[in-house]
Symmetry: C2
Subunit: 145 residues, 2 copies
DNA sequence: ACAGGATAAGATATAATAGTCTTATATCTT
DNA sequence: AAGATATAAGACTATTATATCTTATCCTGT
């Protein structure tokens, strides 16, 4: 059950790495992140550009450059990251793949699925990057392969 | 949030159609199903072959041929269909895409995600084809585009 | 101003998924 | 036995997702 795209996996892990490492407010180079997390540098760069355009990240070039969060990690939810990378319609999906499921003509699993999605959404909304970062830096949870 | 593959969407919808139409025990031709549900005939055929090999369906050729369930629709859960089409490891996934997440070295969202997966699994296990079929034939829920 | 370190961006390659086409094979009806 | 009807199976194509490569651009320190 793959829910998130590779790009999203990478983006979330990368941001957690930044937070666990230096709080996320200081520059971290993409090269370092890609190396530590074993992620393709160029692929990660592109994902970061999206987060950049969405103003979740700010980037700076040159020596001591890198990327950093624009806001405190506690203020950034998983949800925000997911919506930026996967698109705003991420939760508007029918489990059976029907295009306009819900509007008056739901599929037979619509209500149940809607409920599940709402609960996932809530979870993603209430989980911040800071929450995740702490689990990596304090507990022994990991974001590396 | 695409959870199931196209093949799985099609397979589930097709089986629901059969159940809603004639209970699923009588032969229904793949051509009819593919036409009614607007699904590629050949693609659906391949999916049916998998369900066939898994003994969820039996097929017969020639006039009045088609496919039919091998067991009562009430005894077949969504879960079975999903596992056949997506593979038995369908629920063994890490939200962040880490290969061996869980075994002693969980990702920071592992527990939460495990809980969500278990609840989905339970839902899929306790929802039968008969349940879904009834909603289509009695209520006005749909499986067509 | 220059050199080196860093991201930006577009082009290209590869792999996985989805979809189509063709031929083979089985079964029923007459 | 012949013809019509249906699934089986493999080859082929298209599309999307993922990954890589190359060049451009910017920034900092000296």
């Amino acid at each position: 059950m793959k829910i998130l795209s590779r790009a999203c996996n990478y983006g979330i892990r990368a941001l957690i790495y930044m937070v666990a490492n230096n709080g996320g407010q200081e520059n971290t180079s993409i090269g370092e992140i890609s190396e530590e997390l074993d992620i393709s540098f160029h692929f990660l760069t592109k994902t970061f550009q999206e987060l950049n355009r969405a103003n979740l990240l700010k980037s700076s070039r040159g020596p001591n450059g890198g990327v950093a969060l624009t806001r405190p990690a506690a203020d950034i939810s998983m949800m925000e990251i997911i919506l930026v990378i996967e698109g705003d319609d991420f939760f508007d999906t029918c489990l059976l793949g029907l295009p306009d499921c819900g509007n008056g003509a739901p599929c037979p699993i619509h209500e149940v699925w809607k409920d599940k999605k709402d609960k996932m959404r809530l979870e993603f909304e209430t989980t911040s990057l800071a929450d995740l970062g702490v689990r990596v830096s304090e507990d022994k949870m990991r974001i590396t392969i």
